[in-house]
Amino acid sequence: MTDPDVSTPTAPSGKKLLIGSVAALAAAGVGVVGFVLPAEFGIDPLGIGNALGLTELSEPGLNEEQIRGNKRVGVLALSDQPPQPEAWSDRWQITLRPYEAIELKYTLAEKALLDFSWTATAPLYYDLHSHPFDGGDALTETYSLDTLSQMHGRYVAQFTGLHGWYWQNRTMSDVTLTIQAAGPIEGSTLFEMGVPSERELTPPE
């Protein structure tokens, strides 16, 4: 059995082959650097991706809640250190088992200011969001969504409703979360597996 001739009947000259191969590599290089990298990875050294709107493709999609939340200005002022209010209105602690999640909400009136500080013994996935009483879950707004082990700052309620965090422990060991909050809090609600339960505020002594 002989190897069939699988190359061009009129094979190109060495020079033509070399030039062609280099041209193919160059064309591929332009395609990768100019178009594929911006669109797939957001790497845009030539600026073509930005000009053509390709880099947007590489950004992770925002959900509706985040899009609504991103339209707000001045909701959240984060700081490196916990705020120093005259007195904390609430202090709450919970230990989350692996992949356990909890949601803590404060009832706040529109324009209410909330100083807050939470720390966890390991990074927690969180979603800082709010549900307006007028509109409910359908108009939920998310202001910050990430995985962090602490968060401090001042929060400004954009409307009267429930405001607070969803946390999930995405590690394989227990994580203890402590939150303190100060402000005109009118009530507090816990959501476990989506089931709400009212809780009393427990200020630190």
């Binding site: 190359s7 061009t8 193919a24 990768v32």
Partner: protein
């Protein structure tokens, strides 16, 4: 006018397939598979065929392989080598639960396209390198199978009915391959006797080579970025 129609049609096929550059099992399919427990030969047969038909990397390689195969017997021999190669690593990789980094495997698959195009251009003969083309197709078949195995493992198959589902997926891959080949072989048979084939073949293989380089660049960037 008409003599340019076929090369243009082939080019159109390439561009259409380009939208499948990000060659993964789609999110919807992934969610569907996650719900499947037990044997589901129909679903996996379809997924295997779909993976092959929408996979630009496999299609480019197949185009390269049959570019200059004039006789049906040669087409069958080469495609059999490719099938043996990818079936071995697809079945073996999933059953033994071993796999390689998906980016590296996909970069090698991209390289297989570059290799085949360069060989078609007579590059290796000119460099004085003699590589048995059938062995090369078999070896690259092994890598293509490794890539398929990684994709199947990504689906997170349950052990219940694994063998049936895996064999179904593999048969689906072959069905998809035959579907792709039927189109490509037909188009080549129509293009080859025309006067544009000889000059067009040079540029077509350079285009194949460029496509392979793009796949390599994409996958290698993914590897170093992850």
């Amino acid at each position: 006018m008409l003599r340019w129609a076929l090369p243009l049609l082939l080019l159109g096929l390439l561009l259409a397939a380009d939208s499948a550059l990000a060659h993964d099992i789609s999110q919807a399919d992934r969610a569907a598979v996650a719900r499947i427990e037990g044997p589901a030969p129909g679903a996996f047969l379809y997924l295997g065929a779909k993976h092959m038909v929408t996979g630009i990397d496999h299609i480019l390689f197949l185009i390269g392989v049959i570019f200059f195969l004039y006789r049906l017997r040669d087409v069958v021999i080469y495609v059999t080598m490719f099938t043996i190669g990818h079936s071995l690593t697809l079945m073996g990789g999933v059953l033994l639960n071993t796999g390689a980094n998906a980016y590296i495997v996909d970069a090698i698959i991209g390289f297989s396209v570059v290799y085949k195009a360069f060989e078609n251009l007579g590059g290796f003969r000119r460099l004085g390198i003699a590589i048995d083309t059938r062995t090369a197709v078999l070896v690259f078949g092994l890598f293509h199978g490794l890539g398929l195995a990684t994709k199947v493992r990504d689906l997170g198959l349950s052990d219940d009915g694994l063998l049936v589902n895996l064999i179904s997926f593999n048969i689906g891959v072959e069905v998809g391959q035959v579907a792709v080949l039927a189109v490509v072989v037909t188009l080549f048979n129509l293009w080859r006797p025309t006067r544009t084939f000889a000059p067009g073949a040079f540029y077509a293989n350079l285009a194949l080579m460029a496509g392979g380089f793009v796949l390599m660049g994409y996958q290698l960037t993914g590897y170093f970025n992850s």
